[in-house]
Symmetry: C2
Subunit: 780 residues, 2 copies
């Protein structure tokens, strides 16, 4: 009768002939994934062992009856038995269940039992273990955690291949003294995030106070040291701005509005008398200013703003007026609270003639902060982020400003009401004035880069310390040793480094721009602003998710980074609109290439095509070796080919439509997606090109290697995400597409040991980062 119930653990353990099988008999019931069929199969294999007697066989069969699982406390007894016996053994971490069973049988007090010799036993048991269908070694580690298994790190564990300080010097290569000065300012005790949540009012005062301190330290003098255009160094100002962007982004944006947009409008649109009167007050923040361009009805299409500035020749002044509610100035930074004056963009009317958009200085508040007559201000209210910036709406009710308040560099009005300008076309004049916005776009791109660096620093450091999941019985594995985690953080890290070099190039082009290449620089700024801000949005989203719940806590700063930068893809030009601007500039350039010198253009096109076609030959399209894939020239050639091809094809599609009588606006609208694809292709090519040039300049071999890996990772990621297009055009064959994917994974593995050093090199002060999970001293 006893035989008909299931055997107890005690019974099982009392049978010496079953001793070698005990570990497997335990695992059979505790591995959650074993199916009844597998348990039966194990029983069959076990019962075939020659040393078993009838009683052992019977108990064994019942113990493994899928219809009668043992009670948990019985299993717990078996486990305790194995554990206590195992303590007397010296087990290696590579022990199999068969080896463990054999050793247990050997040390069992009933050693007189006629077992085969140890090697024979192990080999016999191995067959049984195979029937079990689970990894025996892992089961042993789970079962006997006391067996001295070393905590291991999965993946490479070599030390960092370079000194972060050396790489930081590379990243700080332009205006290093400006960058270190700003870092110093930010490390002063005044620049600490408030410890408790603040209401909007307090937050705005805090930000204004910080800005005042920066002005006192001389931030304004970085931009215009001489108080006029002669000594102006916007490159230095942008470097300061980029460094400031490691800290509170409301402060950064408010600084951008006052010193950048407002200050630059006085500098570039005004003339000497404006410089003399206003620039010192801009630098000292005595006269906080606004940049009032956008209107409710016209955010992107600012050429059609409706605010009017009519010249009254009799009175000798301008009448600034908001003709309708949709013409109200919208989203104006500094307007809700601190701004005392604004550069207002309005349609100029002189002597009944409409002369297009011009900018005028319009006072908003007196020294006590009271709004002036005729000016109405409304607060935009709470936003997703940047609540330290006081955005407001402005209405002007026939507000009169002196004739001198016209910023008249590009268009002048005499006292008698005669208008003059060196630029005849309203349109072209307006776009020349818009040139002042270019510095803003360059700055937003750089601030996006800094915010992405902050997010990556937090996420990479956290991923290097946080452990989750791991092999049974061993220490859990660091997040950054999980493959998916490497891909989600190291690809964006490569892109961030790539952008660092591309933006250096942009700033240089901007600072050295001439009238000839101004349009090209504007397009470059538009494209990189869009690319960098979208990249920041994606990086910060990924960083937030990669930090799990910790990333959701305000204390860890990722929420603020994400929310504050989200508008970067909208302000200073909506990204989608900017991308179309880039494409149109490429198209103009394309047309001119043919117009200026038809023969040269055609020859060049043929040469370009020939070089690119080399990649289309089946041999090249199939090359899959690492050496070839990690050849920057190869990567770049493909990106160039794509850009040229998209350009030629969109030009063809447009010509076809126009020839068929489709009006330009509609024709462009019908190929909008194509235009955006072209711009993306163009920007990616420029970024990779600049990254390659940047790496070339680096001397230190260690730095060159790690930057080279990042550059390959960026280049191959571009090819990976564009894989559909490249295959479609015969540049990449199936085997190569697969090889590219694998190479990306491989590069991540190679970069893994350097990941923390790569974010340390960003040199973000801990007080700016301020995320408990991402501080420098936490990393090992």
């Amino acid at each position: 009768m006893v035989e008909e119930t299931r055997p107890t653990a005690k019974e099982l353990l009392s049978l010496p002939r079953l001793a070698p099988l005990v570990p497997m008999l335990y695992v059979a019931w505790t591995d959650g994934e074993l199916t009844p069929a597998e348990i039966r199969m194990l029983g069959t294999a076990a019962r075939a062992q020659p040393w078993l007697d009838l009683r052992s066989t019977t108990v064994l069969a019942r113990w493994l009856d899928p219809l009668m699982p043992p009670a948990p406390h019985e299993l717990a007894l078996v486990r305790e038995h194995i554990r206590s016996a195992a303590q007397r053994l010296s087990l290696s971490p590579q022990e199999s269940l068969a080896e463990l069973g054999a050793k247990l049988a050997e040390v069992a007090s009933e050693a007189q039992v006629l077992h085969p010799s140890l090697p024979e036993l192990v080999s016999a048991l191995a067959t049984v273990e195979a029937a079990l269908g689970v990894s025996g070694r892992e089961a042993v580690r789970a079962l006997v955690p006391s067996a001295a298994h070393e905590p291991r790190r999965i993946g490479p564990s070599e030390p960092t291949s370079f000194a972060p300080e050396a790489l930081r010097a590379v990243l700080d290569r332009t205006y290093p003294e400006v960058r270190s000065k700003v870092r110093e300012w930010l490390e002063a005790p005044a620049f600490r995030y408030p410890t408790s949540p603040q209401d909007t009012g307090k937050q705005r005062e805090q930000v204004f106070d910080w800005m005042k301190q920066l002005a006192d330290q001389g931030l304004g003098r970085i931009a215009f040291p001489e108080g006029n255009e002669t000594g102006a160094d916007l490159g230095a100002f942008i470097a300061a701005f980029e460094t400031l962007a490691f800290f509170d982004l409301s402060l950064v944006v408010k600084v951008g509005v006052h010193f950048g947009l407002f200050g630059a409008s006085v500098l570039f649109l005004g003339t000497e008398r404006h410089h003399r009167e206003y620039l010192p007050k801009v630098a000292s923040l005595e006269l906080p200013g606004c940049f009032a361009m956008s209107e409710l009805g016209h955010g992107s299409n600012v050429r059609d703003v409706k605010t009017v500035a009519r010249y009254d020749a009799e009175a000798g002044n301008f009448v600034v007026h908001t003709p309708s509610d949709s013409a109200r100035k919208e989203w104006i930074g500094n307007a809700a609270k601190h701004g005392r004056i604004a550069t207002v963009f309005a349609q100029l009317e002189v002597g009944g003639k409409a002369l297009g958009v011009h900018a005028l200085l319009v006072p908003l508040r007196d020294e006590q902060g009271r709004t002036l007559p005729g000016v109405r201000v409304e607060d935009c209210g709470r936003k997703m982020g940047l609540n330290g910036v006081d955005n407001g709406r402005l209405w002007f009710d026939h507000v009169r400003v002196p004739r001198e308040n016209l910023l008249d560099r590009f268009g002048q009005v005499s006292a008698q009401g005669e208008y003059t300008s060196s630029i005849p076309s309203d349109g072209r004049r307006f776009f020349t004035m818009l040139g002042t916005l270019v510095a803003g776009r360059v700055s937003v791109a750089c601030a996006s880069l800094s915010a992405a660096k902050s997010g990556l620093t937090i996420a990479v450091r956290y991923a290097d310390t946080r452990r989750q999941f791991g092999p049974p019985g061993a220490t859990e594995v660091r997040l950054l040793d999980h493959q998916t985690h490497q891909l989600r953080l190291l690809r964006p890290l490569a892109k961030t480094y790539a952008l660092d070099f591309a933006l250096e190039y942009l700033v240089e082009r901007y600072v050295k721009r001439t009238e000839e290449d101004a349009m090209e620089v504007e397009a470059l700024a538009a494209g990189l602003k869009a690319y960098a801000s979208w990249s920041a949005t994606a990086v910060l989203q990924e960083a937030r998710e990669a930090c799990g719940g910790q990333g959701y806590l305000e204390a860890n700063r990722l929420p603020a980074l994400k929310a504050d930068t989200d508008i970067f893809s909208t302000f200073e030009g909506d990204n989608t609109v900017l991308m179309q601007l880039v494409a149109k500039s490429l198209l103009t350039d394309y047309r001119q290439r043919f117009e200026d010198d038809r023969v040269y253009a055609v020859l060049k096109l043929i040469a370009d095509k020939a070089a690119a076609m080399a990649d289309r030959n089946p041999f090249a399209a199939r090359r899959t070796d690492s050496e070839h894939l990690r050849d920057g020239d190869f990567q770049l050639r493909l990106l160039r080919y794509r850009e040229e091809d998209l350009l030629a094809s969109v030009a063809k599609r447009l010509r076809k439509r126009m020839a068929a009588g489709v009006e330009a606006f509609t024709a462009f609208n019908q190929v909008q997606a194509h235009l955006v694809a072209l711009s993306e292709a163009h920007v990616e090519r420029v970024v990779l090109e600049q990254f390659l040039l940047g790496v070339e300049k680096v001397q230190d071999p260690g730095l060159k290697t790690v930057l080279g890996r990042l550059c390959d990772l960026y280049g191959l990621s571009c090819l990976e995400s564009g894989s559909g297009w490249f295959q479609e055009h015969g540049l990449v064959e199936a085997s190569k597409a697969l090889a590219i994917r694998k190479e990306v994974v491989k590069l991540c593995t190679e970069l893994r040991p350097d990941a923390v050093a790569l974010v340390d090199a960003f040199g973000i002060p801990d007080t700016c980062l301020a995320a408990p999970i991402g501080l420098g001293h936490l990393s090992p």
Copy 2:
């Protein structure tokens, strides 16, 4: 001497022979994009006109001298001249510059001049206009806006093809009465968002107050109408939850924690005495509860939590203890403020034996809200969103709870300290208990869907009213008539509709699950939770950006929607971890397919392969006609093929590694990206399959057509984004990849007129939506 300076506008206009050319002479200088070469070319063409005399020719040449641009006020004079003359003409909107010029010449008072006849003149001028190289028709409209040009909508303008109410009935097809009851509750005046920003404390009280009102209305009874498992209808509860998610998401999550997680833990892990004692108090919210599973050190890997519950047989109670700081319960909703009791997951120890994770009810606060002895609570602090939910941390210092507090459905402890369970394996028992989380995952997926619907409703309605840019002289175009805008909003709209059908399937499978398919349903829930929450994150980001600055204002609610749902990809199972779980379940299933019936499995595999191979033949891979592309079976076959292929290849890669002695954890880690790709492929296939089945069931032909288009858009978008893979595997050739891209654009154009009706059909109450830019009554 006069001839050496540039001619004035007056001079130009005084020459009757130049009259026909005046519009072109104006445009030459005002079109910003004309190069000097082009201006010269125009001059050459103009001077060739036979009717010009010497003086006209001289003035003409000087007027077009690229080195001497006219002054802006001169151009303004010319414009005024043209405009006033044009007022006397009846102009069609299709007038060319040549036609305008000819008509102006005709009406000019100096009609005696010997011009050719009107048709001849127009034809002669057309040559000149061609030399100008700009679109004459657009230039005319910009120049003479008074010419009665009708404001036009670009793109299709047919009326909506169906009634939104009819489609809404389709979307509300399951539990319609529950959905309409909840909508009714939400439309009560008490459920209004506060008009001013609230501090955390107030926000929490508001949310608790709302929750109490829902409890009073009978929300709890929807889940367990009988107060026990018999009548439990979690499907109805999930439908209520999904509808609630149109409103404040803090409320939704708090409801989910209390009624969903806490209530379900009592229902499913407890036994009759727990049901009797607790469920009524859960339903009435008399006893607000928490679900304390996650720990600081173990968020994803909850099987290894460290909190201990040791049974003290003498005292007859459990001692619950937090052994270290990393074992503190983290992120526990309801814990910081309102929770009075918690379901605590802890390692159970009975009689010195470790029995794995079990759940116990542990009281936290008394009726006055005072924390009980031994319990320590800390507030998690401010989060990115969901600040109406009081997340907290919990530490237990040897807290004693009665033996009866063990939720003992799957494991019982007798008074004497004997442990029993119907599930022998600790692991399997734990995963059975985790089954309670499945409802949570299904609910999160459904709430994600609702949030995405809210975001799309706002963005689509705004895009349908907001105008920006347009052809010169015409009304600006609605955002939704821009191609890029259609792509960015209508593709996500299609995905959202697809998910609506897929989640209906998930809820049905969940409600009807049996022990046999429980694992499969869990994997389905995991996959769809990840897919739906990631989709919501992407949709809301896109919606925010698509609304520009307006989308950044808190008043328009997109910031809250984005911030509140951001954690959906993390909680109730981190998405990346869930995707691996899905892949592992597919692998287990794959193994069993062979194990259960080798012959059948092999035959089925061959049949599947054969069907899929049909698409690999060059003919099918090259088919590019709409009819073929819009064949749901074709789309589905490709998604199925990809899934099967990824499954077979990852199984092979894993086998290879294991055979080479790589331990399972490492082997899986080395193919993690592949596993995630497999899961995505699987989920996309399921979603498309369910969408197709759902559309098939719809009777109304109008609805069937529009849903069919959405389904095609979803299916083809999947093929478009996976284009690289499909080409790599010979399923799609270059021409087909291109055709798919074009078909996606075409579908967006076709769906454009229905876009607003498609979001109206979601039936989100305006009081819930509460975004001024997205309210229903604003749409035309």
